[in-house]
């Protein structure tokens, strides 16, 4: 094999690496502009966020180097162990959590805080890859499918209990690799439909939701009309599904929310989604509704005012004068949209798309299943973050606090994505090896 004889450096996929570095550096600039207030501020000020972010990039690259020089078999070997470690960390979080902005998902070592939930994504990806690629796993059996789903949902549940719904939702990204490995369409469709139904019930008003559900089921009915003509039982499934959805969203949830649960519990559910309790579920005497969509409105104003080519670097009035809350973390994209306009934003979107497509390309050239599934995990997690973060900054999705990968300010987030990608690069460098 010619590939095996090549040096490690030439086997690494430098395209992925440069896309990664490029996006991180854009992020450092975006963080700098979101904090910038006047010319007199020195760039090299260690207390500034962009300098911290640069430090984190240094740490990430150092760790990346270690990862690249590690034997790829190591990752295969430690995958289950690391998963166990991740779960233990998550459990420890309940004991040692220090509160950061109302969330109990951070552990503090001196001045250094980190979020086990972020790191655990990597461990879950490794464990899932190992399980699905294992020789004795029959992914077409129900038992193995349940085990795979449990692997993903266990950390997910623990994180939900830590009040970090956004982060937990990211774990649903792992169903995408499972789909690639043969999960039947119908399960994926059902799972996503259920998630959609729950979110829809919470976020959409009852009448429009009823109309949406009805329209969806009529479309499904029309799509499968031939099957329905042949097998009447399918019609019963469709009607039953419609009935269930309507009852669930328009009767069951309102009943439980207004009659069974305590008002504070309802508020907690909505606050997990970053929302206020809608009018229809409010009890008299509770706090009046606050301006919930302030963030999104400001974010849309910032992005929308960028126009075609933007206001120019450091000229964004909305981001420079802190109109957008959380603008260096979750709403980092506002700064790009305002300062660089449609052109800059679209270029960034295309950079992300290129990175994800490249990773899928890498995945499909692996010899071992472990590497392929891991690559899919990386692409899926990236995709999930990318799609939800941009949708929420532009008012297409509810604000659930998901970072923009490698762009948002935040050490753990950058570090975890870096490790994700460097492990992938390492595995890809050994794509000729069959990992057992």
């Amino acid at each position: 094999m010619s590939l095996a004889r090549k040096s490690l450096g030439s086997r690494l996929d430098w395209t992925t690496f440069f896309l990664y570095i490029f996006i991180v550096l854009i992020g450092v600039m975006a963080v700098y502009t979101s904090e910038y207030s006047s010319f007199s501020d020195p760039f090299f000020d260690a207390s500034k966020s962009h300098m911290k972010q640069l430090t984190w990039l240094g740490i990430s690259l150092f760790l990346g180097m270690i990862i690249v020089f590690t034997d790829s078999k190591f990752f295969y070997a430690v995958s289950y162990f690391s998963y166990l470690l991740g779960i233990i960390l998550l459990l420890l979080t309940f004991v040692f959590a220090s509160e950061v902005k109302g969330s109990h998902s951070f552990i503090k070592f001196g001045s250094f805080t980190f979020q086990p939930g972020e790191i655990c994504k990597i461990f879950t990806a490794l464990a899932l890859s190992r399980f699905l690629s294992a020789g004795d796993t029959k992914f077409d059996t129900l038992k193995d499918r349940i085990i795979a789903a449990a692997l993903v949902l266990l950390p997910c549940m623990l994180i939900i209990l830590q009040n970090e719904t956004g982060l937990a939702l990211v774990y649903f990204a792992f169903f995408l690799p499972m789909y690639r490995e043969g999960l039947p369409n119908i399960i994926l469709v059902l799972a996503f439909s259920m998630v959609g139904l729950v979110l829809g019930t919470l976020l959409i008003e009852q009448l429009p939701l009823f109309i949406i559900i009805t329209v969806v089921f009529i479309l499904v009915g029309l799509l499968y009309r031939r099957t329905i003509i042949r097998q009447r039982i399918v019609l019963i499934f469709v009607i039953g599904g419609w009935l269930f959805s309507v009852l669930f969203s328009n009767v069951l949830v309102p009943y439980v929310f207004t009659k069974v649960m305590q008002p504070y519990q309802v508020e907690r559910i909505y606050s997990m989604l970053g929302q206020d309790v809608p009018q229809e579920f409010q009890r008299p005497g509770r706090k009046a509704k606050k301006d919930a969509d302030y963030n999104v409105r400001q974010s849309k104003i910032a992005i929308g005012s960028g126009g075609f080519i933007g206001k120019g670097i450091l000229n964004g009035t909305q981001t420079k004068y802190s109109y957008v809350p959380e603008q260096h973390t979750d709403f980092i994209f506002c700064g790009i949209g305002e300062q660089f306009g449609f052109v800059g934003s679209a270029v960034l979107v295309l950079l992300y798309l290129a990175l994800m497509m490249r990773i899928i390309h890498l995945a499909e050239r692996q010899r071992s299943g472990f590497s392929r599934i891991y690559a899919y995990c990386v692409a899926s997690v990236l995709f999930f973050h990318f799609a939800i973060n941009l949708s929420m900054t532009m008012g297409l999705a509810p604000v659930i606090g998901i970072t923009l990968p490698m762009l948002s300010y935040g050490g753990t987030s950058l570090l975890s994505f870096s490790i994700f990608i460097f492990i992938l690069l390492r595995l890809d460098a050994d794509r000729h090896v069959l990992l057992r």
Binding site: K287, G306, Q318, Y321, G337, E338, F386, S391
Partner: protein, 687 residues
Amino acid sequence: MAENTNIHPRSILVRALFVVMALVIIVRLFTLQIMDDKYKILADDQAIYKKIVYPARGEMLDRKGRNLLINDIAYDLQVTPNKLKDLDTALFCRVMNMTRDDFLKSIAKIIKKNGDRRPSVFIASLSPEQNTRIQENLYLFNGFEIIQRTQRRYPMGIGGHIFGYVNEISPARLEMERYASYRQGDYVGINGLEGVYEEVLRGQRGIEYWVRDVYNRPQDPYKNGQLDTPAIAGKTLELYLDAELQAYGEKLMQGKIGSVVAIDPQTGGILTMVSSPSYDPNLLTGAELSRNYSKLYQEYTRPLFNKATQATYPPGSTFKPITGLVALDLGVITPAFGLGCAGGYYQCGKRIGCTHSNPGHAANMRVALANSCNSYFCHLQRLIVDSKQFGNVKNGLQHWHDYMNNFGFGVTLGIDITGEYPGVIPDSVFFNKLYNNHWNSCQLTYMGMGQGEVTVTPIQMANAMCMIANRGYYYIPHFVKSIGGDKNHGMLKKYNQRIDALTHVSKEAYDAIINGMVDVTVSGTGRVAKLDGFNVASKTGTAENYASIHGQRVKLDNHSVFVCFAPADDPKIAIAVIVQNSGYGATWAGPVASLLMEKYLTDTVKRKPLEDRMVNGNTIKKYIYTIDSLNRVRDRIRDLLRTADQRTRDSMRRVQDTVIVERILNKYYHLDTRKKYYDLKRPEYLD
């Protein structure tokens, strides 16, 4: 090795998912950033802050270039009620040290007065302590703004009546055409020079565009200030007023009711105008303005009433030179005309008393003036109106009336502060009405000696002295010499024109009158006005006056009146002084005029004992208070009667206003309109 070249179908689906999502995001970006202009406008609305820069108001200098007033910087707290939605009322009240009730009442008052959209002054002239407290916390209180403006300060505390004052523009003024360019919350000059010269004093507002942050704090000039308009400061007024003389006049007049007007006859420039009791103009600046104003308004001596231009008095004997001059000009007498007076005038049946009874005290015009013989001038008045050339007495009176108007009596002069009264110079219509068409010259005799129906204002008397001193011409009395250094400014045009009202009168006539007035000082009733080295022409007056109390005509103490000018041959100053209800002209008004003249002409006052007597003298009679109270009651009743049916309409409007205010309060504070707003609990979300 052979890379996996056959592409897995589900990998294509996954890739398709990625591409579709990226496309959705790009389409969304396109609609947000390119299709929709709304966000650009919203961003500008939010971040760009238009700051009005108020110019410094024009200054005023006296004739020697001294600053009469100083512009201080004052800060007003402005509020726009409809932006208060998210206000933390409790915190605001704590910072401003006020109760919640007071806060709500003030807001309700502002909404009622100016509506809820326009910025209105919430607290005028913040104290330094208030200012620091609110400045620190301003970003917490959306809807409040601090406006910087200039506020007057008068280092000498003189000339309140002259300057007028500056206050927030009233809704009534806003509707006037003159104030079309003003906005709610602007300041405007009211009365006096501030009011008349408002257009040149105010300067031009500037506009600065600032970018502000989310806490409403201005951060940087927008586009480096390219779009800004700088403010243009108001123009400086240079006055004829002599600050020292004015201060001295106010000092001499303390403890007296009356006024002093001193004019430079050669320019018409007013050197001094005192209306006593005077007030410190500093009272009418700043936060205490309205309280001080009503306090001054309530005073029984009526300090706000400018007695120099608005009070009308019988001129008494100071009118005699005028009567004499008219008689001489008409030719009804010659300067040598004499009258045998034995202490009274009996020709019209009733006796008109004269202080002198020695023979020859009215042997000719000059002597009669020096001795101030009543009989002589009463007789002249009859000679004037009964003169053959006019045919009948009505015609005669009308001609006399024209003379008086030429002297500036019975008409407003058009000086450059507002609120001038014309006084009364009766004409035949007046007497026809008074005497039911049956009257003759005998009813007019008193007017010859400045009593009876004639009333004039102090400024008119001073102006008439200017005319005699100038032998027939005058300039309309005015304060302002130049506007921003320009002596021919449009607003000063009418003051630069010499008015030759009585220049046709012969030299002999003027000589007789002026010599007579000089004799008054040298040997007559006005000897107190003698001034070494100067030829002073003067005339004393002791004016009888009456008050109407419960419909009864009650005689009060005489007004002490004095007019003079000097030097007689080259006049530099003409003065009229009146001290109400204080006795003889030579006792109070004469010394005041003379001391002012000495001060002006020689710069120092040597007659210290006289000065002390004047400064310390108090001539305010107790009954003034009673009369003032009665007048106020009378005015009140008259007002009540006049507005009786207006009130019905007002009440209806008030009910309407209340409904509107309650509706607005309900909208922003969720207050229950069925209860009074100040009884209500705080809306929950504000806690």
